[in-house]
């Protein structure tokens, strides 16, 4: 049984179609990256999965239970919104204790879980302080702690690290990474580096539609365009080479950044044969040459910018 199943989900806000027949499946135990540009429909999907918003049509199931039909779902999920909001007059301990009470965790167990969660979030010291005085990073970690207080089977995270500074991002991503194997993590984000770091499976959504869904490595292998890069000291000759290369049949796009020339290629073998030779013929002294390892960012940009390739591996 899949942890999350979404079928033909649609949702409109006035004339704006936030979700346009979205379908996807998330296997249990996965750390699933739900990628998309701003406004793609990520938050709407998460809000529907939590029952906070209603779909116009289609359906969604969490752990086999249909969203909107079974109240049991809210006990199985943990949810961290993009900007977790707390009662500023509560302390960290009271916040987690209240969330534990809502989940009907027995008092002694609740006390244990609150301590555990505070420790995991690095908030043991701050637990007695009112949440109103917490920093953004502390609130985000508290948000993750409250989402995990009842040991959910599925953790829904909406842009969990997007608004954090590098140190805060590292902390939160470290906490999420630590959950691998404990529950299914469904994480929406537009930050590719976060997905590259912790997600094993990725779906890309654009304009409310799924455009790719695969294991991260498979996605890169399938969608990434090969790239070659070389570096040389003579910028004028490098520019001249760039003009020549851009006219070659094997070149897809050419870019120069400082003393580095990057060529995305259609025919890798031909490019590997000819690029260095052309550089030497142009009188360049090549100081560095490599085949660039494609990143998820390349895949994402290619898929999203090219638009509506609705493919699923």
């Amino acid at each position: 049984m899949s942890a999350i199943r979404i079928e033909a989900l649609t949702k409109s806000f006035g004339k704006f179609r936030a979700l346009d027949g979205l379908s996807l499946t998330v296997e249990g135990g996965a750390v699933f990256g739900f990628l998309g540009p701003n406004g793609a429909g990520k938050t709407t999907t998460l809000r529907i999965l939590t029952g906070l918003a209603h779909a116009d049509s289609g359906g969604a199931w969490v752990e086999g239970l249909e969203v909107g039909k079974s109240a049991e779902i809210s006990s199985r999920i943990g949810y961290l919104p993009e900007e977790p909001a707390f009662y500023p007059w509560m302390t960290g301990i009271e916040t987690l204790d209240t969330m534990g009470q809502v989940h009907r965790i027995e008092k002694a167990e609740r006390r244990r879980r609150v301590d555990e969660m505070l420790e995991m979030a690095g908030l043991t010291e701050a637990g007695k302080r009112r949440v109103g005085g917490y920093s953004r990073g502390m609130r985000q970690r508290l948000g993750l702690a409250q989402a995990l207080i009842h040991r959910p089977q599925v953790l829904l995270l909406d842009e969990p690290a997007s608004a954090l500074d590098p140190a805060g991002r590292k902390d939160v991503l470290g906490m999420i990474e630590g959950l691998r194997g404990q529950c299914t993590v469904f994480m929406s984000t537009h930050i590719l580096a976060d997905v590259e770091r912790i997600c094993d499976t990725v779906a890309i959504i654009d304009r409310g539609k799924l455009v790719a869904n695969a294991r991260r490595a498979d996605l890169i292998a399938r969608y990434a365009i090969p790239m070659l890069a070389l570096e040389a000291d003579d910028v004028d000759r490098l520019n001249k080479l760039a003009t020549e290369v851009s006219q070659m049949g094997w070149a897809h796009a050419v870019a120069i950044e400082g003393r580095r020339l990057t060529v995305t290629v259609k025919d890798l073998a031909a490019a590997q044969r000819e690029l260095l030779a052309q550089a030497v013929a142009a009188g360049l002294v090549v100081t560095h040459y490599e085949q660039v390892k494609p990143s998820l960012e390349d895949v994402f940009l290619r898929i999203v910018e090219n638009g509506k390739e609705s493919r699923q591996l």
Binding site: R47, T50, G51, L52, A53, H54, A71, S74, S75, I77, Y79, P81, E83, P84, A85, F86, Y87, W89, M90, E94, T98, M99, Q101, V102, H103, R104, Q146
Partner: protein
């Protein structure tokens, strides 16, 4: 429900809502008999006031009751609107409602806990005002019939609850505190306009207050059972509407 209620009650205390309601109602509970008693004296101190004070009849216990009712209804209504207008809308706007409602907390419990907590604050505030008003009336005038005084304050609590419930509905209908405030004031104005129709006025809060005044002075005249039932019905209708609207809303 108990978790939601515990949270709401803690909120009433931590955000000083309970304190504010208690202090204001207590203050006017205390001041009302004082004002009734000393208004002629105060007027005397104003230049040219001596002549006016001569035509003012000596204050009676009825003036104390009227003053108490007037002050508490005005400030109680204001408190109900100010304390209640952000109760739901602010939680929706700030995102705390989403945090709570993504968990196994029912929306009905969420709304009813708020109503109960606000009701409890007004109950304590009214009890304090009643005790203070009774004591000062006793000191400055004479003892009020205890049963009648209790009935007056019970009806006063129902009066506050009508406006608190309508404000809660306004807060549920809106996403911003300002919008909730405007809607709540709209409800108050609408109710006031309806009360201007003599036949309808007897069946609304005005009828309730007239009856309350009579009861406090030991008179069994003109019981306004109709107004009581209509006010209780208004409270129930406003709360039911809040729950039904909130259950359908996207948070």
């Amino acid at each position: 429900m108990m978790t939601a209620l515990t949270k709401e009650w803690l909120e009433q205390r931590r955000t000083h809502r309970l304190l504010i309601v208690c202090l204001i109602l207590l203050l006017f509970g205390l001041l009302s008999p004082l004002l009734a008693k000393f208004t002629p004296e105060i007027i005397k101190m104003v230049p040219g006031g001596e002549q006016i004070s001569q035509v003012i009849p000596p204050p009676t216990i009825a003036d104390a009751v009227v003053q108490y009712l007037k002050n508490l209804t005005q400030f109680g209504l204001l408190l109900a609107v100010l304390m209640g207008m952000g109760m739901v809308s602010q939680e929706k706007d700030k995102g705390t409602a989403a945090m709570m409602l993504a968990k196994p907390l029912g929306r009905t419990a969420f709304i009813l806990a708020k109503a109960a907590a606000m009701g409890a604050s007004f109950l304590i505030g009214t009890a304090l005002a009643a005790a203070a008003g009774y004591y000062y009336t006793l000191l400055l005038f004479e003892a009020l019939p205890a049963g009648g005084w209790l009935a007056l304050n019970g009806l006063l609590l129902i009066y506050f609850s009508v406006y608190a419930a309508l404000t809660l509905l306004a807060s549920t209908l809106n996403r911003s505190v300002l919008g909730s405030g405007v809607t709540a004031v709209g409800f108050v104005i609408l109710l006031a306009l309806i009360e201007m129709i003599p036949a309808a006025g007897k069946l609304l809060t005005g009828g309730l207050l007239g009856w309350a005044g009579n009861l406090a002075l030991g008179s069994a005249e003109a019981p306004a059972w109709g107004a009581l039932w209509v006010c209780l019905g208004l409270i129930a209708a406003a709360l039911t509407a809040s729950v039904l609207v909130f259950r359908r809303q996207e948070i």
